[in-house]
């Protein structure tokens, strides 16, 4: 089966254009809010906190904050990308075009992940102005960043596909993902929690993502890095299956 390259490219560039048009919201806003975390928690409060696993507190929280941005941005980028054409009616054009389900997903998710990675890179660079950052395993870091960006962009596509209004679309990033990141060891080590809450935290999937990235940065983690990678791949496969089935059925977009 031939690949509709020009259709893929059109949707991808169209989405990237939206990113360029809304730089203030899509790039500067997350960079500013993460910088505030670095200033408050890293530079100011961090000076009064002891080192964790031999790493200064300011440096320790970099992977967690990076993960917070990656997750929220990838979900909101892609969910908005597919929801907006549904909302304004231009989805008809995509449905009537000779494009396969796979090509539609790849274009929207590819653009969403690209935007997220751009934001992530800028935040990473910004963090070096506030705290000392070292990356022990650069390739592993890139692999995890790309994997997380694509996986959650795909999850965002699912959110956008299932949402019928703007409120529903914002529920997952704000009411589910953000609390999971904050309670998933982004600003602390699990060892610092009482035993009971450590057990509870094991059920939070975001914990494994943050620890995987922290391992790539500093070589320290509460879990084996493979647990993180396998859990991410598992979630990616689940998202691929669900999105493909829903889109093929035309769920929420095709009568």
């Amino acid at each position: 089966m031939r690949f509709n390259y020009y259709a893929f490219k059109s949707i991808y560039l169209h989405e990237m254009d939206r990113f360029k048009r809304t730089l203030l919201q899509s790039l500067f806003s997350p960079v500013l809010s993460t910088s505030l975390y670095f200033i408050v928690f890293g530079s100011v409060i961090g000076g009064y906190v002891e080192k964790i696993d031999g790493i200064s507190y300011g440096s320790y929280i970099v992977p967690g904050l990076l993960m917070l941005t990656l997750l929220t941005q990838s979900i909101s980028n892609t969910s908005f990308g597919i929801f907006f054409p549904k909302f304004n009616g231009t989805i008809y054009e995509i449905l009537a075009a000779p494009i396969s389900t796979f090509e539609i997903i790849l274009a929207f998710v590819g653009a969403g992940a690209t935007k997220t990675l751009i934001v992530g890179i800028v935040i990473f660079i910004t963090s070096t102005f506030f705290v000392e950052v070292k990356v022990m395993y650069p390739l592993l870091m890139v692999f995890i960043l790309v994997l997380v960006a694509f996986t959650f962009a795909l999850f965002g596509f699912l959110v956008g596909l299932m949402s019928s209004n703007f409120e529903q679309m914002s529920i997952i990033p704000t009411l589910v993902i953000t609390p999971m990141v904050f309670l998933g060891g982004s600003l602390y080590s699990l060892d610092m929690l009482p035993e009971f809450w450590q057990m509870v935290t094991y059920f939070n999937p975001v914990v494994y993502l943050i620890n995987g990235l922290r391992f790539a940065f500093y070589g320290v983690s509460d879990f084996n890095v493979w647990v993180s990678i396998i859990s991410m791949l598992g979630f990616l496969i689940a998202c691929v299956v669900v999105v493909s089935v829903l889109l093929k059925k035309g769920y929420n977009i095709k009568s």
Partner: protein, 311 residues
């Protein structure tokens, strides 16, 4: 080989809420013709177009374009089709040029700025190419929708209510555009609820009502059947019965007995109006006013359904 480009066989559509939008539709559309689908709001016109274009899934039946099935061979069929939707659905923050180029890409065509320029020029949009859609008037937005539908050089163009809510000037422009497209070999299917529109541009007309095709015929033939009008002659004095000399006109006396009604066909060479007025004068009847009334689409559908049932 058949000259039919679109074949619709036993097509039905039942929505999830149980509404039966299309009932066993069978229709053939020839290559290069202008086919008008005429019907009132909610008749099923848009559903039919949406199924052919791939936006709505059929419940039962088969549609093929140039012998390609719209489900199994969707890449072939969809790449042949351009669709101008009824609603002005556009990316309002994008420029005209980018909007049209985007559509070309979606249909798998290599970027071709010269072709986009040609279309925008034809549609009097070239000087607006850098404007964002939100800066355009409703009429201009409709032209952009046409430009988008033509961006990938389709051989079939669907126009869903192209002149709904547009002024007379733009309506005539649209008809001109449609005629020019036909000359270039494009098959055009348009939906409308204006009889005049079908009369002005269509080769054939299909009348659709409550999800069923009531009749399909050459425009001229159909207009003959649909062209009945009613002439009401208001009188200055009451008339209790039709005089013998006027019985040949099959006149009806109005309820208040202050008027008489005459039904005639506008498509006939001689409508009989002149003779009727002369005979009324000869009978000494004094006229107060005259008015004519076109049959409403609904009345026409009812009469066509009746007519079909009788055949």
């Amino acid at each position: 080989m058949s000259d039919n480009q679109i074949s619709i066989n036993n097509l039905s559509k039942i929505y999830d809420n149980g509404f039966e939008a299309l009932k066993n539709i069978n229709l053939e559309i020839k290559k290069g013709e202008i086919f008008a689908m005429l019907g009132p709001n909610g008749a099923g016109k848009t559903t039919l177009i949406s199924i052919i274009c791939g936006i709505v899934k059929p419940s039962v039946g088969k549609v093929s374009i140039d012998n390609f099935d719209i489900i199994n061979d969707y890449r072939e069929t969809r790449s042949k089709i351009g669709l101008v939707p009824q609603e002005l659905t556009l990316e309002t923050f994008e420029t005209v040029f980018n909007n049209v180029s985007y559509s070309r890409g979606l249909y798998g065509k290599k970027p071709d700025p010269s072709h986009i320029k040609k279309i925008l020029t034809q549609l009097s949009l070239w000087d607006k190419k850098d404007l964002r859609l939100q800066q355009l008037s409703g009429g201009m937005k409709r032209r952009v929708l046409i430009a988008k539908a033509l961006s990938h050089e389709p051989s079939i163009l669907f126009l869903d209510e192209p002149t709904a809510g547009v002024d007379v000037e733009l309506r005539k422009d649209m008809w001109k555009i449609v005629e020019d497209l036909r000359k270039s070999g494009v098959t055009i299917i348009l939906t409308t609820h204006y009889i005049e529109e079908a009369e002005a541009i269509a080769d054939r007309v299909g009348v659709i009502n409550q999800g069923e095709i009531v009749v399909v015929d050459q425009t001229k033939e159909l207009l003959k059947r649909m062209g009945h009008k009613k002439l009401t002659v208001e009188l200055q004095e009451k008339l209790s019965e039709i005089p013998n000399s006027l019985t040949k006109y099959n006149l009806e006396i109005g309820r208040d007995k202050m008027s008489i009604n005459y039904t005639y066909n506008v498509q006939d060479k001689q409508t009989g109006i002149t003779n009727l007025l002369q005979d009324l004068k000869d009978e000494g009847l004094k006229l107060k006013d005259l008015k004519t009334e076109q049959n409403t689409l609904e009345k026409i559908f009812v009469s066509l359904v009746k007519e079909n049932n009788e055949i």
